[in-house]
Amino acid sequence: MRYVLKKAGIFILTLLAISLIVFIAFQVIPGDPTTRMLGTQATPEKVAALREELGLNKPGIVRYFNWLTDFLKGDFGSSYTYHMPVNELISGKLSITAALTGMSFLMVLAISFPLGILRARFAHSIPDRIAMVFNQIIMSIPSFFIGIIFTYVFGLVFKFFTPGDFVQRAENPAAFWGYMVFPALAIAIPKSAMVVKLLRSSMIREMSEDYVRTAYSRGNSRWQVLRSHVMRNAIIPVVTFLAVTLVDIVAGSIIIEQVFAIPGLGRLLMTSIIGRDLPVVQTIIMIISIAVITVNYIADISYKYIDPRIRFR
């Protein structure tokens, strides 16, 4: 119970700190929403009138607390540039980015676990050594580069998909998911390589432990030992890493959305920062922060289920 309370306290403090940092950053950088909206048509009178209209003429501290109280009430404000409630603006984008992230994460699991276990099982064999070289190379390729290669090779040469032909899920779910495959794969590939490497080394380390020898001596087969004994112990660092990976995937999707022209949260975040659209930026950052903290929290809790010897205090 104390653990939960402590975690909840940290959770709230972190979010407060993040929102404050974002707010202050927006006070420091040059330009405000009126700069872009009025562009080269700006005159001091027009700027003043628009600032008044947007409520920007109040002192910063007042605006921050207004935002905070509204946010706590579930009112995320409305976008300066789009003149629509942030909820409405973001909900459509959130599901796109969530779909991309989720699909990518499942791909990481589907690719890395079989490969990692196989490589641990056949460690130091020739195939394992060859795989190690490739693993090392793939790990170091940024996902946006893989994305570019994918659009070129699978999009333009083999025509498996049409670059830029993104379709909303509501319009055509099959086409939506089909379009997501390559962007998700582009993010998943380098991440999978990292997980494979970690899983393999973690399992190899565990395989030299005494309990493994005991397990063998009790007549278990090699696969049985790997599955029921080694895996449980080896997976703890991997789970921690997977939590970090999930966060990385969210960040990676922001860039991949640019490469594949997907109108997700990442693109909205970038343009909103450029347009100094604070309510949108605050909300997106809050959503991402909540997701990140929650994922780490889930990882913490899952240790207990994987290894009952772990206790929380």
Binding site: G39, T43, I148, T162, Q258, L268, T271
Partner: protein, 522 residues
């Protein structure tokens, strides 16, 4: 061979990607660069006949990021799209003439301060209602801010009154004579009492259907259009802000048309595309802050003018594409453009050096050029200019800033030494280009000040004789050139690529994209 070409393309793609990611888009821009586009057959030489119908998909580099209220929209990218939806009493054509649109006839009084319009009979709004004088009165009163005292478009502050003597006639009276005001009457006519951001009802060849932020804007052909109907049934603007993704989408066939491409991008497309070439309709120059040392000295500005080799810049940026300018007027404004000013300061580095020595800078000096990083052609131009300045002993420090910073620090704050940017006209008038250089203009970001200029400008605006007015505006351009207000460079080239058998794109002397003329050939 094919393989090598692809590898190079891929490598280039990666390079551009990296650049694009670090710059991460932003401007209303258009980019230009170093390679020539592939030789493509001219659109009109092809025997392919226009086909009615079809769904056109157009790629645009940024979302419509400001108000969609036709009376408040300021960004060029927004006006470019909404040109297809809204119309005014008059409408520009590709030659730069103002033709009657919602009105069928216009009469300007001898005194130049009264405009009498007769409404066209068969003009319908997108909601099916006919346009009446009430709608016109509502729309123009709203723009002029007759009730609020705050005009939504600056030029409309000149309006004294709007009257509707009968149900076909609208009379607009100005406070002072201004025959150029006609160009401002391209302001959108919307239904009486409507809220334009909620309803988005106009009279143009396309009606607004929907928008999804950062995703798309959808327009549909309006069957009740009074003029020449559009060919295509539907236009979807897809927003793809990553330059490389935009080209990939065009190549893959997801897009039918993309405007404002660079020479390099066009070259990357290959032979299956029709490419139209025009100009951006802006004046690119090294704009100098006339209030700071040493640019407050006209002799220094003149000296630097001789050091600019325009042809070298155009060669570097776009293989010689673009048109050199010598004052604040772009060539597509044929009526006003003074070609003799282009070579007023013929490139001569020795002379520049000599002149600098004469005014006390034999060793040259240091200067800073502040450029918005999202406009690649301006950044590239800055690099060439820096080299050219080096030749006369002037050391240039290029400072790249983001667009917001540029707007607030350079444009609004006037807190800079020099900058490279393209300046365009909000309406198709000479005064839209030249007004900013009057001493008390709010948009005079170069701080140019010349009593003679102010005097002639006043005369020009008030002049009611077209020929005489052209003469006066020419004089203003000459003053700018003689004073070397800025180091004038060029009007940048604009390339439009069309795939999937699309043809028919036409350039206007304004920043608009007319989709009603575009058609499929298969």
């Amino acid at each position: 061979m094919r393989h090598t070409k692809r590898t190079i393309a891929l490598f280039l793609a990666t390079l551009m990607m990296t650049a694009a990611l670090s710059a991460c888009s932003g401007g209303k821009g258009n980019e230009t660069s170093t390679q020539p586009p592939a030789e493509t057959p001219n659109a009109d030489n092809n025997s392919a006949e226009p086909v009615m119908g079809g769904d056109l998909t157009v790629g645009i580099a940024q979302d419509l990021d400001d108000s969609l209220d036709p009376h408040k929209m300021v960004s060029a990218g927004t006006r470019e799209v909404m040109f297809n939806v809204f119309e005014g009493l008059v409408k520009p054509d590709t030659a730069g003439n103002l033709n009657p649109a919602v009105a069928s006839d216009v009469e300007i009084s001898e005194t130049g301060d009264t405009f009498t319009f007769t409404l066209r009979d068969d003009v319908l709004f997108h909601n099916g209602n006919p346009v009446t004088v009430k709608d016109v009165n509502y729309s123009l009163s709203r723009v002029a801010g007759l009730d609020t005292g705050k005009p939504l478009i600056d030029e409309f502050s000149a309006v004294e009154s709007i009257d509707t003597p009968d149900d076909k006639t609208v009379v607009i009276k100005l406070k002072e004579p201004n025959i150029e005001f006609l160009a401002s009457l391209t302001a959108a006519i919307i239904p009486d009492g409507s809220d334009p951001t909620a309803d988005m009802i106009g009279t143009g060849p396309f009606k607004f259907v929907s928008r999804s932020p950062q995703d798309n804007i959808i327009l549909e052909k309006f069957d009740g259009y009074w003029g020449t109907p559009a060919y295509v049934d539907k236009v979807t603007y897809k927003i793809i802000d990553n330059a490389e993704a935009l080209i990939m989408s065009l190549k893959g066939g997801a897009l039918d048309l993309v405007a404002h491409l660079t020479s390099a991008q066009v070259k990357e497309l290959g032979d299956n595309f029709t490419v139209a070439e025009g100009t951006m309709n802006l004046v690119q120059a090294v704009y100098l802050n006339n209030n700071v040392e040493p640019f407050n000295n006209m002799k220094v500005r003149q000296a630097l003018s001789y050091a600019i080799d325009r042809n070298a810049i155009m060669d570097y940026l776009a293989d010689g594409r673009g048109t050199a300018v010598g004052s604040s007027m772009y060539p597509a404004f044929k009526k006003y453009f003074r070609p003799e000013l282009v070579d007023h300061y013929k490139y001569d580095a020795e002379k520049a050096k000599q002149l600098l020595a004469d005014v006390g800078y034999p060793e040259g000096f240091d200067m800073t050029i502040t450029v918005p990083s999202n406009y690649k052609p301006h950044v590239e131009t800055a690099e060439v200019v820096a080299q050219q300045m080096k030749a006369i002993g002037v050391t240039v420090d290029i400072q790249t800033v983001d667009w917001e910073t540029w707007l607030s620090e350079v444009y609004q704050g006037r807190n800079y030494q020099s900058t490279i940017i393209g300046v365009d006209a909000s309406t198709m008038t000479a005064s839209a280009m030249l007004k900013r250089f009057t001493s008390d203009s709010g948009s005079n970001f170069v701080n140019f000040s010349d009593p003679e200029y102010d005097k002639v400008f006043k005369e020009a605006v008030a002049c009611t004789d077209d020929a005489e007015q052209i003469e006066l505006y020419g004089e203003l351009q000459t003053i700018l050139t003689k004073n070397a207000a800025n180091l004038y460079i060029q009007d940048l080239c604009d390339l439009v690529a069309m795939g999937n058998g699309v043809k028919g794109y036409e350039f206007y002397p304004l920043y608009v994209m007319d989709m009603s003329k575009v058609y499929f050939t298969k």
